[in-house]
Amino acid sequence: MIRWSDRIATGVPKIDVQHKVLIRNFNLLEERINSRTLTYDNLKELLLFLLKYAEWHFGREEECAAEHRCYIAELNRRQHEWYISRFTELYEEFKAVEDWTEERLYEWAATVHKELSEWLLKHVVRTDRHIGVCLGKLKREEVPPPEEKLS
């Protein structure tokens, strides 16, 4: 479970509130996996929501970074682009399988949850928090340096 803390806050309210939505829904997915309440339908619905919400949120965040001419804007945009294309690829993979067994569904969901939520957490800490620096909400020394990697 990802717990909200200052370590992942950008200090920019509109960005933090949207990150909380993504985190809450990744946690919901984890909870459904752990409590064995996952179904094909609720997984599909949750993945689609997370994908669409991430897309929308990334757009808002990119506008904000560009508006403030933040040094992280271009890297942030490229990382978002990578994530959406990876997420879409996984979602397509999910829809393409016609004969999910329960065991395979749980296994696939756990792997995908790990990959997508870990990326998000790393991205928030190493990239998005620099937007907080640009907007004067965080000090540069409080934030680990950005990583050029997309994945």
Binding site: V17, Q18, K20, R24, K52, Y53, W56, H57
Partner: protein, 116 residues
């Protein structure tokens, strides 16, 4: 089960400007999600019909709530109200109108909004 009513005034980023009736954290989450939903719906309607949404109403039966979403066009804000369905319709209208008028006068009195 019928829940007590609540309302929020949100901006286009999903941030709460005002509201009451539920713990802050729950209102915040709802505001962030529903703003995304409203803007997506509005985009779809615009692309399909070249028109804008003036009001959205729906019912959440299990919680016994009737929702109204009213945009305050000039400000880009939305008023979202959730009223118990066992409340007389006239009273729901009255209460919604009251909140809408209050939000409108509040918007008027707001200084030009900061970007963040």
């Amino acid at each position: 089960m019928t829940e007590k009513g609540w309302w929020i005034l949100v901006d286009k980023d999903g941030l709460i400007v005002d509201g009451e009736g539920k713990p802050k954290e729950e209102l915040e989450y709802f505001a962030a999600v529903i703003t995304f939903a409203i803007l997506s719906l509005r985009k779809a309607i615009w692309e399909e019909m070249e028109d804008t949404i003036s009001e959205i109403s729906f019912k959440v039966s299990e919680k016994g709530l009737i929702f109204h979403i009213l945009p305050l066009e000039e400000s880009g804000l939305f008023l979202i109200t959730a009223m118990p369905e066992d409340m007389p319709l006239g009273l729901i209208r009255l209460r919604t109108k009251e909140l809408y008028d209050r939000a409108k006068s509040m918007v008027k009195s707001l200084k030009p909004q900061r970007k963040i």
